[in-house]
Symmetry: C2
Subunit: 341 residues, 2 copies
């Protein structure tokens, strides 16, 4: 009986494989319709073709197909402030009545009295202090609820839309194209892991276990009602930026990515780490050179300076030298947002 | 054209689904052949049936199907010493010529002069010190090489076989059965994450990104030849035991498991955390009550006391009260190791 069972099963599978092949061939269309033809689009297509072709020496077996994406400035808008900074600012305002001491303590005082633009000069340390104090002392679930409520109402100052609509459509296409070809797509962000997990599955199709970000410690304890809960502590566990990106990738994935996408000096080490692996690798950097449709900042290539998402000339030169592909938002992207059409 | 393409594709998929269904029905055999009929085997089957049946109110959508497994004593033998302790002891001996100070410093002195059995009384702190000093100062890749070489030659003192052959066959069947039913299987171990990643894919079919364990910090830096490397530091990042298990699960997965398997008090919080979720959950504990075939230790149910993998009477009582299933190695497992047949 065993033999005949597996024969039936094997026959069905072969037939299915053929049918799916035929159907897929018919369904073939451009997987990257928001991209103009050019070296960036070509680099993505070549990478997928080579690494998924079993006959190619540089074939990558499916379990090793890992692609990592920075978030701020790579998958969504990061100007004039990182979205999570906007959230933290609103959180300080919401929590202020319970924290009278903030009125006289920096950087809280600046947030409570100033306007958003004056806060662009915040140092990383200022921001970490604000996040530590405003994102802790509650359970993971309570934090998710707070973020969800904020995302439902907060709007971007220029585009007047929810932040989760400010996703770059060309990048969503790349993520989908890679997934269809067996790649696991990870977000590797300097932003908060728990913050991004709230919307990553809905917005990017990236499940919580594929979100790597800056993370605080948690403590397993019991609520007054005796229910076990994970409480967010005000101490950092991982700062997922610069060298912290490869460290975070090793902690959570334990494999070197085959492809990595970023847009700023904070992504340099992730691209370098990715590129040091054997075989063919894809490293790409988004250059924001499109003020009319989005923003223009560098200072690479003489673009205006920025305090957020710096793309230095040194990074541009390194990309050129190492064969990393720079994506020009202006030239490579046919459209930027889903709602533009 | 678009409509006709999707019609062809849709038709092919429907036909495939039907063929696979028919073939699978024919291929139906016992997925748990190493398990005797009884409440434990029944609990596993019921859980899979209920959570994968779309018509059932307690259906679990595939992305949420997460099952976590402790390793030592749950997936493989942990007596007379945790395997990684045996590795660390051999590592101390191998590195001793470079560390003359160890001859007079505890716990290193005890390792260098004593026999393995006398070391069973090591405290967790002793073990952490040994791991910190012997598992650090090298790159992740170098560490993997050292572990691989050790696993290739080291043998278990009683079974005289490589440690990677001391895997419980019934548990491999459970992991496979869950995976076939859309569950992602994770290892959640108090042992070292990098240690377990070396063999988890080959031995358990669990890829590195699904291994959660105690983890040390790493530092992204450059080798003398200028190659970027991740160096293991002697500081702990996560102690993945007791409350650290839910904390590690949240850090790496970001979802509450639907099923959790353990065998000792170190797994209590993981089972409790799993059980606190909505819907149907499966919590199981392996009781080592089979001295002739493996080991017998508790002290639950009057079994001999143990310094490794304690299963207390309090844990047994909690399991009974909360409906967690205790697996009796003696009664529930038809065979224990793959090589027994």
């Amino acid at each position: 009986m065993k033999t005949s069972r597996s024969t039936i099963f094997g026959g069905a599978l072969t037939l299915c494989a053929s049918l799916i092949f035929v159907a897929a061939a018919h369904a073939q269309t451009d997987p990257l319709p928001s991209w103009n033809e050019g070296p960036a689009k070509q680099a993505i297509r070549d990478f997928v073709r080579v690494t998924t072709d079993k006959a190619n020496l540089r074939y990558v077996p499916p379990p090793q197909r890992i692609a990592t994406f920075d978030q701020d400035g790579t998958l969504w808008v990061e100007q004039p402030l990182y979205t999570q900074v906007a959230f933290a600012i609103d959180r300080v305002k919401a929590l202020a009545p319970k924290h009278p001491e903030w009125k006289t303590r920096q950087p809280f005082k600046a947030i409570l009295t100033g306007n958003r633009e004056s806060l662009a000069g915040f140092s990383i340390q200022d921001f970490e202090r604000v996040v530590a104090e405003t994102h802790s002392g509650i359970t993971i679930e309570e934090f998710h609820t707070v973020v969800k409520a904020w995302l439902a109402t907060a709007k971007h100052p220029r585009f007047k839309r929810p932040y989760t609509e400010l996703i770059y459509r060309p990048m969503l296409e790349v993520m989908r194209y890679l997934r269809v070809n067996g790649y696991k797509t990870y977000i590797v962000t300097g932003g908060g892991q728990e913050f991004v997990r709230v919307y990553a599955e809905t917005v990017y199709g990236v499940p919580p276990e594929q979100v790597i970000g800056s993370a605080g410690k948690t403590k397993y304890e019991y609520s007054p009602a005796g229910k076990p809960v994970l409480v967010k502590l005000p101490e950092a566990l991982l700062i997922d930026d610069q060298g912290g990106k490869p460290e975070g990738i090793n902690l959570i994935i334990g494999r070197r990515p085959s492809a990595a996408f970023g847009n700023s000096t904070g992504d340099r080490q992730m691209l370098e780490y990715t590129g040091t692996g054997d075989g063919v690798r894809l490293m790409m950097l988004v250059l924001h050179d499109d003020a009319p449709r989005e923003y223009a900042y560098g200072p690479a290539r003489g673009l205006p300076d920025s305090k957020v998402g710096v793309f230095s000339q040194a990074l541009f030169d390194e990309a050129t030298k190492k064969g990393w592909t720079v994506i020009s938002m202006k030239n490579d992207w046919k459209n930027i947002f889903a709602w533009e059409e």
